[in-house]
């Protein structure tokens, strides 16, 4: 299935990309993270186990075991620091 994936703040800068459309053949947010980690380099580094990042699906923050629906807007970003 096809997903739109957005990156913000430090992760956007590290990945050198703000958004992309990608083919996703997994089920959960964890599957998507694994797919991105497989790109190696900065992707594997920033999305490694133990690194702090958040995943939002259709603009709601979700746990990594949440399923991702087709055509979803997924965002991956560092812990928030507003206020």
């Amino acid at each position: 299935m096809s997903l739109r994936v957005l990156y913000f703040a430090r992760l956007r800068e590290r990945f050198g990309i703000a958004d992309e459309t990608l083919d996703f053949n997994g089920v959960t947010a964890a599957d998507l993270i694994a797919q991105l980690q497989a790109r190696d380099g900065v992707w594997a580094e920033e999305l490694a186990a133990g690194r702090a990042f958040r995943v939002a699906v259709n603009q709601d923050i979700v746990a990594l075991d949440a399923a991702i629906p087709d055509q979803a807007e997924v965002a991956i970003f560092p812990p928030v620091t507003g206020g």
């Binding site: 913000f8 702090a52 939002a56 603009q59 965002a75 560092p78 620091t81 507003g82 206020g83």
Partner: protein, 166 residues
Amino acid sequence: MNAGSIKPGSTKPGAMKVVVQSEAFDLGAEVAAISHTRTDIGAIASFVGLARDHNDGSGVQAMTLEHYPGMTEKALAALVDEACARWTLLDVTVIHRVGRLLPGDPIVLVAVASSHRGEAFAACEFIMDALKTRAPFWKKEETPAGERWVDARASDNTAAARWDAP
């Protein structure tokens, strides 16, 4: 809505304003906007967060606030809805700025109106604590050593967790 259109004794909630903007805001004007059409409000608690000139042992010359357009407004509205479910509130205003800010500039405003102070104070603090951990904003600071992204603080998670049901 015209002044006087709400009858005395009414507890109809106000507009519940949630705004993300680059422009500055005026606390006095926002508080006046909450109360100028009604006389049932007994308390307005407000919080204004400012850009500091120092953080983590370093001077800060400026900061830039980035956000996730669409999700930000949705997340802030959800926090306000939660506060309204938890306390009896008459109106809430949340304004958060984005873009480049200088030390001393206002960043965020939360104003909460209720019949009595207890609910206004509590809801105002709840909204700020929840905003700090759930609204998608990120700060990047300009320091003498260069630019750096601000790391999330464990103390913010602790503050937000105080409001979780036991």
